[in-house]
Point group: C2
Chain length 117, copies 2
């Protein structure tokens, strides 16, 4: 099990784009919530992922993520996801020894400024 510590920021402008080293197309669907935890299915390009995120405790939460067949992830997104599918492109922006992930939303959240996590 890993812990997730996620901090989100709103980027000020598009200056990060020139530094991006790559990107992934993500499609996320919520299967279920439990307290402040959730179960999410994701298509990351041609990879399927099923993720259980535990309740937040302070800044962090337990995260259990498993690769699953993409065809099954797509099927769960289509038939089981609760609410809209979140579609975004995640850009990787190396910075020193770390990598920023900059999400540009489409679909239901299009128009939201890019958010880096």
């Amino acid at each position: 099990m890993a812990y997730e510590i996620e901090r989100k920021f709103l980027v000020a402008n598009d200056g990060w784009r020139a530094a991006a080293s790559g990107s992934s197309r993500l499609r996320d669907g919520l299967i279920a919530r439990f307290g402040s935890g959730k179960v999410r299915v994701r298509l990351d390009g041609d990879r399927g992922l099923l993720t259980v995120k535990g309740p937040r405790v302070g800044l962090r939460r337990a995260e259990y993520e498993y690769e699953i067949p993409a065809v099954e992830a797509e099927e769960m997104l289509r038939t089981l996801a609760d609410g809209p599918i979140v579609e975004k492109t995640r850009f990787r922006v190396p910075h020193g020894s770390l990598t920023w992930e900059v999400d540009v939303h489409e679909g239901i959240l299009a128009g939201l400024g890019p958010v880096s996590a």
Copy 2:
């Protein structure tokens, strides 16, 4: 993805025990419900399983089951499961070309008669 069609029966007596060909110790915990669907984590002996069961439609429901590290299944059972852990021994009872699964409950459901599914 598989479909689950589950029918449960209450057994009349212990006559099935002599015909059992094997058994597994199961520990099940509910992670989350969504409508009539659910996300379950299971320890089946030394195998961990994470299962998404879709809503029931008539007699059947979609079922997505993935093997996960047993240590993570045990951790989710301990830290994330909602409500009591269901502990049971599942006996396999071959009958013609089919196999009955006879569950004998312990723990919170101990005292319930064995149920075959």
